[in-house]
Symmetry: D2
Subunit: 352 residues, 4 copies
């Protein structure tokens, strides 16, 4: 932490900052430049409320020099983490594809989708049972019933399973049925939920908030890890900007930035970020190319009839073509996933 | 809801959209222009997942023509609402000033602040007992103990009280001790918490999310009201932009926009939005001038030692000067509040 | 300028930064903290390309400690400036109201509007003769012919006049006919135009770019002043955000921030920022309340037929009502302007 | 263009909208729904100022249904364009790599860089001779002298050349010396410059404005093409958001969106957008993967001493490694470029 004083700050102002810091048991280091005096703080900054120093007379700026997150910080954990989810791993060397419907609608639907995405190379089945929706009048999910279908579909296909949670009650249910829980974008700074997720024992997929900085996102991950749960995977899903041609703006630069700042795996969600099935394939390839450890992709047996987020869902055919096209990109990125080419799924599908 | 087809859409594409809508029990209205065909939907749109229509062949765009919120909508409730909080009202004719520390630190501190803000014209005492903080290592609040101090301070001074809640447990405690609960910016789309707040029976102050649109904000209010609790007050507290000179960008235009779209009262928070005590007074006046029903202002007996958000807190003197200066602006805006000029508070205060 | 090294930076890395700086004729000041080493630069920073230091090994961050603008900086010019425009002044004590049509359409129209806005209290007539339009197929202005009408209208009514310029040719024409030139938002970083405006000799109204920071804006003003023209007035006209209920987001907090950082006068444009006549009056009052030196407001004799930006234009009646309502707000803000109440204008006007 | 009336709009209000449209020589098509009445406009909309309709009584919204750009629109030009620049082409099948220094500093420096980037696969040499800089006190470029060096370097190496222009004078000089001109982000809506570039006869690289929507960007391209110059290439270079870990946010989703909306080639600039050499390689690969026709990359013989934008420049070694790694990604994307492996460049280079 550095305190930059204003040009021509009075000696008395400098002294009062120094006293405040030293009275809190820390020491200081002064640097008097031609234009400004700079005060460095030496010692354990958690002991004093440093933000308040900005209120002191003649203080111009407070400049933090170290990050507030420790457990998520690559500086203290240089090797990239690999996180186990059911029978699969997310991390170096593998391309983890999470696929499935935005919302679980019925057992039959889910089973049909699970079989299809498994064949095309997904290792984790996604499906929403608790849907946070902007309007209270929109479909809100099948809740525990949906989770049971997820468990069944996971057992039948051998896929690991992930489901979004929105409260302690949902976490309690998720622990019984699925392999990984997801904290959605809108709950990224729901700190109570982060702590509860941290105590759940399950690996957690933490989506970036719609207007969260990377620093805030890593602090949110820190909340989970600080509860004793190191199994956190980050998911870039688009930030809100003024552009309206896509639903949000997928911030792919965040991937190499995160690879530098944290050891946690990072995946990308090209479905929610773009809001349109047309842009899913190019953005999935781009995410792989810039270092993503995985992808989360919405797949639906009949997008036009989906109860939630149909416009961005891929049909089985489109998803299969995408994973075929992804394979060589993954190879270049030093990653792999397994396709099961064989008989096509027998449930109803929309044509292309 | 209007469906705009692409130029030269095939007749078959138009037919399939029409069939889909009619198969769901609604009717359609076609308008074939020179360039494009437009399909209007007639009937109860809640019956069909209209978003998915964008996936249909040759569909260019879906244009909603009505808002999704009803109970918060001024169209169906033309008179502005007045909301009772303890012994005071927020709404037309009055300027409700909520003041107090960001975080409750001790009973003595709170009592001292409560007396000071009461004298200067506040009608509601604010004080955080559950603090959502970006870093898990920052001070998180006194929790229930803090709420008890709020109750005591409210009883002693006659001020109504408000406290932020972050989970059901906090709501349960708040119901026992305070007059109004606050949903913070980070929880604006924590739909579970919104519903719980709706069932609490207490009036709710709903802060705007950092990157929430006005439309999303009103839908969040709808969640609360839909639980049978019409006592919602909105609080504009700044949105996130690229500008760094202020912590956030106070979107004052939102106030006249909200006055047009909803009957709910709207207040502004110039403390959190600007992040600096220097900008609180001008922005408070501006908020009054453009129609705010109230203000939320951070006041601290010793900002330089505050455990949270010191830089933006006003001293007692600055707050007193502000409310004096606000009085004629409120008069122009057809609003009033009551100051109790008399003996100065006797607790320790920082000088100017 | 401070250079923050990474934790555990090698001594060799520190040495190479120090050498680079000293080889450029400056001196350094080291501060070795527990966690990081910080290197301060002492001397004239214009001598070395400091940004590049970020490429040096083990350098974590470069922290500027002084602003790059000098002539616009209040630190070196503590008294607020007052700028003469024709026969009127913009600055402390006065509320300068610039009003008129977005685009000059005809001499008759302009004269009619000029008389009306003069009566209601405007001191400066605005009117666009060179219109920067998003689409090449939109109306682009009457150019020099429009400027001649501005001159005539100014002479007839005694109003000072202002017109946007978009190139040297427009400046050359403007110098002959009007009292002040405007650099529009889209040209805020058209540095060639800024320099040309600086050499024009006319006072310049500099609108904020749609996504310009306050710091960039002041640097743009510096371009004009550095050419020897100190007569710059800043105009906040809304920034681009994700909110769509208003055309842009009027950043009123910028006004008190600018009052602290610069001595230049600041006005607000509630017409372009909100994009709707409905929000002009409340935002105009708010701008006055938080310290604006003036307002720029679009007024049209028949908004529904305006060739440009009709939706945000006020009718004569609405503008007259607004200035009446503004008077007491200006009085509170210690500012005044002069209304000429008398016979109503005789040209055709739309009713309310 | 569709006009959506408010719920319960008076018949008189509907009639007055219809009259206004019909009086302007167009016809209307009414659609009276249960909730709202919608008025479609049939005919040539350029005949009436439709925006103003929003001012009419009971009008709720105006919904455009067609884009304002025609010549840049893929609807009317379904095949992707290929643009010739000197002896090379930008478009389908090729990966055009533009590389070079941010600013031309000397003939020797430029020649050295030109040789190096040519060997590593660049087909176009970039180098700034007219630098638009935020501060008037920063280095502004060598101007015409710089262009002459560009010409020499182009002739010696066989590379095509590109240089940013900021005014007519710079265009006049550029026409004499280089093969392509660039309009920078800050000038994207400098419509005068766009028209001048359109009349220059040279192909134009049009960078996206920092806060420009894709729609505005295509309208800016339309300005150039409307002057008779169809040779426009778009360059995504990052948009401004609240994120500070990268200088801007590279909006790669814009690439597939543009591929749908326009026939013009699109390239990406990972150097300026991220602001750090560390992120250039991953983002370059991502851009190729999602469909870019080319890349613009800053390369410098000694980044730590560059006069402009050093932190984001690649050394020769890093650039060479990048193009080697890019080759297989280009192959997957169906594109190619030519490397000249051989003797290393002999000018001074920084080590890695």
């Amino acid at each position: 932490m550095i305190i930059v004083m204003k040009p021509n700050a009075a000696q008395q102002s400098i002294d009062s900052v120094v006293s405040y810091i030293e009275n809190n048991g820390l020491s200081t280091h002064l640097s008097a430049g031609e234009e400004v005096t700079i005060i460095g703080i030496v010692g354990d900054k958690t002991k004093l409320p440093t933000d308040n120093l900005i209120s002191f007379k003649d203080v111009d700026r407070i400049v933090p020099v170290t990050e507030t997150y420790k457990l998520a910080n690559r500086k203290f954990h240089p090797d990239p983490s690999s996180i186990q989810v059911g029978n699969t791993w997310i991390g170096p060397g593998s391309m983890s594809i999470m696929a499935g419907p935005c919302a679980v609608e019925s057992e039959e639907q889910l089973m049909c989708i699970a079989r299809a995405v498994k064949k095309s190379g997904a290792s984790i089945l996604r499906g929403g049972a608790y849907k946070p929706r902007t309007s209270p009048y929109s479909f809100q999910g099948l809740e525990e019933e949906g989770l049971r279908y997820m468990q069944t579909a996971g057992r039948e296909t051998g896929l690991a399973t992930i489901c979004e949670v929105v409260c302690q009650e949902a976490i309690d249910a998720a622990v019984k049925y699925v392999d990984m829980i997801q904290i959605g974008a809108r709950n990224m700074q729901n700190f109570i939920l982060l702590k509860e997720a941290g105590r759940s024992g399950l690996p957690v997929l933490l989506k970036r908030g719609l207007c969260a900085t990377i620093d805030e996102w890593l602090n949110a991950a820190e909340y989970i890890i600080a509860e004793g749960n190191p199994n956190v995977v980050l998911c870039e899903r688009g930030i809100r900007t003024f552009e309206t041609a896509t639903r949000n703006t997928l911030d792919l630069s965040a991937i190499p930035v995160l690879k530098e700042k944290t050891h946690l795996p990072v995946i990308a969600d090209p479905s929610h970020s773009t809001g349109s099935y047309k842009y899913v394939a190019p953005m999935a390839k781009a995410a792989v190319a810039c270092g993503a450890d995985g992808l989360m992709i919405e797949v639906h047996n009949n997008p036009a009839c989906a109860l939630s987020d149909g416009p961005q869902s891929l049909t089985f055919q489109k998803f299969d073509r995408l994973t075929r096209e992804l394979e060589p990109f993954c190879a270049l990125a030093g990653r792999s996933f397994e396709r099961f080419d064989g008989q096509a799924s027998d449930c109803h599908r929309t044509g292309e």
